[in-house]
């Protein structure tokens, strides 16, 4: 009997996509259901350490035996599993980030999925899943988790799926995952930090569908993805700082998206990131053909982008566009458009919004080149910005996409040091009062973790 962790039980889009992508259809049995004998969790109130494979042969067996507050500590090895964490305040941690590998083998849908509050996923590698390397989501029912609420013919009622509260994804390497590397959806008060994501056909790191999100995305590298970092309908307090989103096809996107709840996307803080040379040929194609773009804002509003280094993106550094009838409004965009050893952007800031939803309220500093050239004409007024047709952007030929399974493996990533320590429960707030980096970072920020730089 299929368990709820089997690929086949993933609802809706999961099942259909599984059938569609021919190379990925061979079903494999998730190793998760065969629980083995081992220590039970610290149900008596003292947090326990559950060791894999010493005490439990699979990660899932250890997670199933864990009680809130426990640490599942995984020793080096390749684990052919899909892990579902549905107990609150459980930590799943590898002892060696590069040698503890959850492997989807190109057949399983996801690597580690958290649907409970307060889950930490730390210091391990998740690779070769069809859809999601790491997924944190409040959208789930008896049929399993989902990262998209609707088949598109229904309006989503988000109140029926309260968000996951408190999560942390730290020191995780997510490579060669079909759609997304690290994905937080319908989740709040969390952090994705010091992680690495490559080889995803959608995005390396994704934060979606939340309000008052209180999510920190810091110190990560995403490269060789169709999109490095994507924010769709995640608003109010998503702080993205000190990351390297270079060498993707598109560095970052901020999207309003009617396919999920909570349009429009708004009020993100994006500070001190390096978003350069997003011209990767060693990556899956962007499905809409996008290439050579630093930061795309599609119907996003009132985002503050400052002190970022955005350079070497041949089509555009920052692109303003509408999502259907939702205009890009009030986005503050400044920073540096030139870095050591990096070429200039094709154009620094371009507005390609359609007439039916023209962009407003973006007033770039004098250093930026713009398309149209008179983009600043509406500065200081509430009026619409002039725009250009997408065909007027600098032309760049997008190379063919590479299979997500063939994207080169990442270089070894620095891991955690104190792996035995059982952590206290995650805090209930994350970004409030956080100190943001000052000044524009150098072009080589986090370059030592990159397989490209």
């Amino acid at each position: 009997m299929p368990s709820k962790r089997d690929l086949a039980s993933f609802i809706g889009v999961f099942r259909r996509a599984a059938a569609a992508v021919a190379v990925l259809t061979v079903a494999a049995c998730a190793g998760g259901s065969a629980a083995t004998e081992g220590t039970a969790g610290g149900g008596d109130g003292t947090p326990a350490v559950l060791r894999v494979p010493d005490e439990h042969t699979t990660v899932q067996a250890a997670v199933d035996a864990a009680s809130p507050g426990d640490l599942v500590l995984v020793s080096p090895g390749t684990y052919a599993e899909s892990v579902l964490v549905d107990t609150d305040d459980v930590t799943v941690r590898g002892t060696d980030r590069n040698a503890v590998v959850i492997d989807g083998e190109g057949v399983r849908s996801s690597g580690v999925v958290a649907t409970a509050d307060g889950v930490r996923i730390e210091n391990l590698t998740v690779r070769r899943t069809m859809h999601y390397g790491v997924l944190v989501t409040g959208m789930h029912d008896d049929d399993g988790p989902s990262a998209h609420g609707t088949d598109g013919y229904e309006r989503l009622d988000p109140s029926r799926f309260p968000p996951v509260e408190r999560f942390a994804v730290r020191h995780v390497t997510a490579a060669n995952n079909g759609l997304y590397g690290i994905y937080a959806f319908d989740a709040r008060h969390g952090a994705i930090t010091d992680s690495y994501a490559s080889g995803s056909a959608d995005s390396g790191i994704y934060v979606g569908q939340c309000r008052e999100c209180d999510i920190l995305v810091q110190g990560n590298v995403a490269e060789r993805n169709a999109v490095g970092f994507e924010n769709a309908n995640a608003s109010d307090s998503v702080v993205v700082s000190g990351n390297r989103f270079s060498a993707n096809r598109v560095g970052m996107t901020f999207l309003s998206n009617y396919q999920e709840a909570f349009t429009p996307q708004r009020a993100g803080t994006v500070v001190g990131n390096v978003v350069t040379t997003n011209t990767s040929a060693d990556s899956p194609a962007h499905a809409e053909g996008a290439f050579g773009i630093g930061i795309g804002i599609s119907g996003g509003r009132h985002n503050v982008l400052r002190d970022n280094l955005v350079a070497g993106n041949p089509r555009a550094g920052v692109l303003l566009a509408n999502t259907e009838d939702l205009a890009a409004v009030g986005n503050r965009v400044d920073g540096s458009w030139a870095g050591d050893g990096v070429s200039r952007n094709g154009v620094d800031i371009a507005n390609v919004s359609a007439d039916r939803a023209p962009a407003r309220g973006t007033c770039p500093g004098a250093a930026a080149s713009t398309l149209p050239e008179n983009l600043r004409a509406a500065c200081g007024t509430p009026g619409p910005l002039d725009g250009v047709a997408p065909g007027e952007l600098p032309r760049v030929q997008a190379p063919p996409g590479m299979s997500f399974l063939e994207v080169p493996a990442p270089p070894p990533q620095p891991g955690m040091t104190d792996v035995e320590n059982v952590p206290a429960p995650l805090p209930s707030t994350v970004t409030a009062g956080i100190r943001l980096p000052e000044g524009v970072p150098d072009a080589d920020l986090l370059a030592e973790r990159s397989g490209v730089a």
Binding site: V13, T150, L156, R160, Y258, A285, E288, E324, G401, F404
Partner: protein, 402 residues
């Protein structure tokens, strides 16, 4: 989980039905639900076929007009007529004119019809009111606002833009349609014709038939009482609707000339990429069979969408615009080729929806990204408030000023 129960679980669609029931209160508004319940099961328990097959008479009266969801398989032939009304600006005379017209429709399509000579058969008449007369009654009514202009609309001949009254006649017997139209015109009195044109559909089952490009069309549409209540019929007061138009719907009519010669040159593979479904059996390019939805997220390992980025089914998919699912019930047309003039073939795009915005947002998106629009030239464009159903005791249009 099958589609219906999943929708139910995730989105709680039962509330819509409850709204209809609450408003039924012994008036004709109960009819649709009674039709849904005639096998004895509660309407909410299953998606039930809306009405009889296309052979035989189609009820002209009821909560809703005929020719939209009934007969369940649209008749093969149609005759569409758009007119202007001299009293579009004066509701009182307009309403008595509509009442007379409604009586003529009941006489014509009822069991005792003497016109046409062979009997009414499955003839249906659907009456819609254009934005001008609707706005004259109340500019706040659904249907009071005209369609905006879309890409290419600037070349449409003025007499083919808008209009005060739509008479949409459909039947299995094409010979009966002009005769029926004559009767209706006589009952209508002085009205200025804008245009009138015959149209046809291929053989089909339910809403699905092949369109002039050869592709199965009408697959992804609302089905059954529940989805129609949610997507098509203007809702009862208890569900946020205006009681004057409950059971009505908004109709969009676009005459689209298709460059079938250039489309044919594409070859099957490229044609399918333009549509997003297979020519042979209507299955989505993302896999499955005709009855499956397109999977917008499915990709190849190298990152390409299986349903291409500019495919019509992706472009028109309601999820992108945050709008509802329209009921499309299109017909083909053909104008003669004479000498060097190759004539015209194309699609009368006809859709019914609860909100005009469902069409408007979708068409804007098609104009921006749909590969199919490169083969389509609009030559008529209009929207109508299809009035609520009527019968002898509740004349056509009588609810408007209630």
């Amino acid at each position: 989980m099958d589609r219906v129960s999943r929708r139910e679980v995730l989105f709680g669609t039962g509330g819509v039905i409850a709204g209809v029931v609450a408003a039924a209160g012994g008036t004709a508004a109960g009819t649709a639900l009674e039709q849904g319940r005639d096998d004895g099961t509660p309407a909410a328990a299953a998606d039930l076929p809306a009405d009889a097959p296309s052979t035989g008479a189609v009820r002209p009266d009821g909560t809703t007009q005929a020719g939209i969801d009934r007969p369940a398989t649209p008749q093969r032939f149609g005759l569409l007529t758009v007119l202007d009304l001299p009293d579009a600006g004066s509701p009182a005379t307009l309403l008595s004119r509509l009442a007379t017209l409604g009586t003529a429709v009941l006489d014509l399509t009822g069991a005792a019809s003497a016109v046409p000579p062979g009997g009414a058969g499955d003839l249906t008449v659907t009456v819609g009111l254009g934005p001008r007369p609707v706005a004259a009654i109340d500019p706040g009514l659904p249907g009071a606002t005209a369609l905006p202009r879309f890409a290419g609309d600037e070349s449409i001949a003025p007499e083919r833009v808008g209009g005060d009254l739509l008479l949409a006649l459909h039947g299995s017997d094409p010979m009966a349609l002009p005769a029926a139209l004559r009767e209706l015109r006589a009952a209508l009195g002085d009205a200025t014709p804008r245009w009138s044109e015959s149209c046809f559909r291929g053989p089909g089952d339910g809403m699905v038939a092949r369109n002039p490009l050869g592709f199965h069309d009408g697959i992804t549409v609302p089905h059954g009482v529940r989805e129609l209540s949610r997507e098509v019929w203007l809702p009862p007061e208890g569900d946020g609707g205006d009681p004057r138009v409950t059971g009505g719907t908004l109709c969009v009519l676009r005459r689209l000339v298709l460059d079938t010669a250039r489309f044919a040159e594409l070859g099957t593979g490229s044609q399918e990429a333009v549509i997003g479904r297979r020519l042979s059996d209507g299955a989505p390019l993302s896999g499955g069979t005709m009855s499956d939805d397109v999977d917008l997220r499915a990709k190849t390992p190298t990152g390409q969408y299986l349903v291409p980025a500019r495919a019509h089914t992706r472009a028109a998919h309601p999820s992108f615009t945050g709008s509802g699912l329209m009921l499309r019930r299109g017909y083909g047309f053909a104008a003669p080729a004479v000498g060097d003039d190759p004539g015209e073939t194309g699609l009368f795009f006809i859709s019914f929806q609860r909100e005009l915005d469902t069409f408007v947002r979708t068409q804007h998106r098609l104009d921006e990204i749909d590969a199919l629009m490169e083969f389509a030239t609009p030559t008529a464009s209009a929207s109508f408030l299809v009035l609520p159903g009527f019968d002898a005791g509740r004349p056509l249009g009588s609810t408007l000023t209630a």
